[in-house]
Symmetry: D2
Subunit: 195 residues, 4 copies
């Protein structure tokens, strides 16, 4: 099975009218350049596990994206995307949360820049738990409470809210692409919600 780090349009950022802006940043890469660079360097990503918390900050549910693959297959994934040249990790995290959850999700970004875990994706399986057939990607993973309404956009068809126990289950893990079931469990462990 071919799995990929979801990043269909890494440079996309919401404009006032929903139209992607032209690539005015000289740091942005054409598709060909990006494909070339991906065979040369580890590419930096952020990933986020959106959660709902109770009044004491405890995670009560976990948001998992359901995405249709070009082959028609459905897979589960996390909020994810590339960090662009000149962009801070916080900016990238906010941009991808908005891209995948819509502008009304009202995420509460973490105060600390330290990720809950770091996932290393390689094209070849067996080096780590994570694979990405397109590239060597290193992903900083964060748990992000959202307080608003999530309205997935683009190719993410649906956001499913689950209990921490469901999210950690074998059934959900088996549907997640690139080994992200392990990532989801590590994120749950970091908030004390793994049994």
């Amino acid at each position: 099975m071919s799995v990929r780090t979801p990043d269909p349009d890494p440079d996309w950022t919401p404009g006032p009218d929903g139209v992607p802006p032209p690539n005015v940043n000289p740091g942005w890469l054409s598709d060909i350049e990006l494909a070339e660079t991906r065979r040369r360097l580890p590419i930096l990503y952020i990933e986020a596990v959106p959660v709902r918390v109770d009044g004491l900050g405890q995670v009560v549910s976990v948001g998992v994206l359901l995405r249709a693959r070009p082959t028609g297959e459905m897979t589960r994934t996390l909020v994810s995307g590339r960090v662009l040249y000149g962009e801070t990790l916080r900016d990238a995290l906010f941009r991808h949360l908005e891209k995948d959850l819509g502008p009304m999700a009202f995420p509460q970004l973490p105060t600390s820049p330290v990720p809950v875990t770091v996932a290393e994706y390689f094209p070849m399986p067996g080096i780590t738990a994570f694979t990405d057939d397109r590239q060597h990607a290193v992903s900083m993973v964060y748990v992000v409470p959202v307080t608003g309404t999530c309205d997935p956009r683009q190719d993410a068809l649906e956001l499913t809210w689950m209990t921490p126990m469901e999210a950690a289950s074998e059934a959900v893990s088996a549907e997640m692409e690139g080994g992200r079931g392990a990532l989801l469990r590590m994120a749950l462990a970091s908030v004390g919600q793994l049994r």
Copy 2:
């Protein structure tokens, strides 16, 4: 100089009319029993550094309490208090934030139970950076964004908001009791705000 972990009424919890409830929990200790126990066991505390964050989760200001000592001396301190028998760390954190910042502070408790640092207070100086002449206390320290209005109660006279740079300064450190200047700097470091 005699410094102490501020805990003038550790069992106090706000009642609907502001009157402390009677000690109905058999786990609660009389003053004499507490004084006795403090010479026998390390006492578990929580401490919190209240912060204001911007839209990207970055800490922009830090709240420090100014407290009048019975001697008339003014010292700076953090939100702090004992964890009671039967109480979770989250409950204790919420209770002491409410006690020190008032009911309208709307703190966003962390999703993770892991503290940003652990402070060990001993009656005798020199073992760690932290001292408390009353007891051996072990304190789990958290950084907590607050979104509402802070209205310090009880013996905390004032909550001062500072920039991270001011909060980390020598001047502020020198005014903090029990070595908590170091604690404040470690908390700032944990959110990437120490220069």
Copy 3:
């Protein structure tokens, strides 16, 4: 089932001749006093997951203790014990590692005092994942590489080395007392070894 935080002789410390020293520290408690205090205050513990690492620091195996209960039942557990009055967390961690793994284990204690997770044990089930019918205990959990030979002492009959995958399995979790299967998984997650 009655589960307990293993602490058969919390004040024990190895003497030159293996004989426990008399209780000369006024901070130490008699059995009756300790039983009384346990109904009044949360008791501070440390727990350690001993691991073997490869040359790059990656965890390759995990040590789990097998302990005979007075009832003859066998349960699995972690290195665990109380923090005494006047003792630093590092001292307590070292003392309990020596008590449970012997003097030749050569543990490499972590540079950071921040635990990988915090486990809250309550006598009544359902508050957290962890229970201890004797007390309310709050435990700071650390992952500790050991480089020497482990020779369990006292009532710990055996130390079993497992792969991270075995240690995270349902079978091992079911044999662990007080909900520590969850703790072991969270510790594995913290070192990137949970799948």
Copy 4:
């Protein structure tokens, strides 16, 4: 002042005879390609603060590199270098520790892949505390105990061991390039050694 992330020969790895091997990895970049890519993508780095610890894991001294700049100026810096295509973070960490401290340093790499902090370097000052006039670099920072003999190689002229207090001082900070004084303080805070 022009500061740079020290990476004079990022692909260098010690051969048996000390001769750099030819670039056989197709993922490696020529100098021109690397310069080009650095204007297009954030580049992933690791940085390490080498430390000496006592028998309880407490940091007692901190290693800081003294490096001669081509201009003759001396600056202080940390162990630092790029993560190559196909290389894990642990491999990169080990390689750069060996490059900067020699083959007999015997570093104890952390069990956790989570860095103590993440430093974001930008060519333009003011975005974060860190600058690098060559590139946008994102650096995962680790504290690494070393147990052997450090013998700095290449352009690092000297490794200086300091107490944590000296390492956190204004004097040392002022000599560190690219804002790394702040990084060193954050690393010290993460191990509870900042006052």
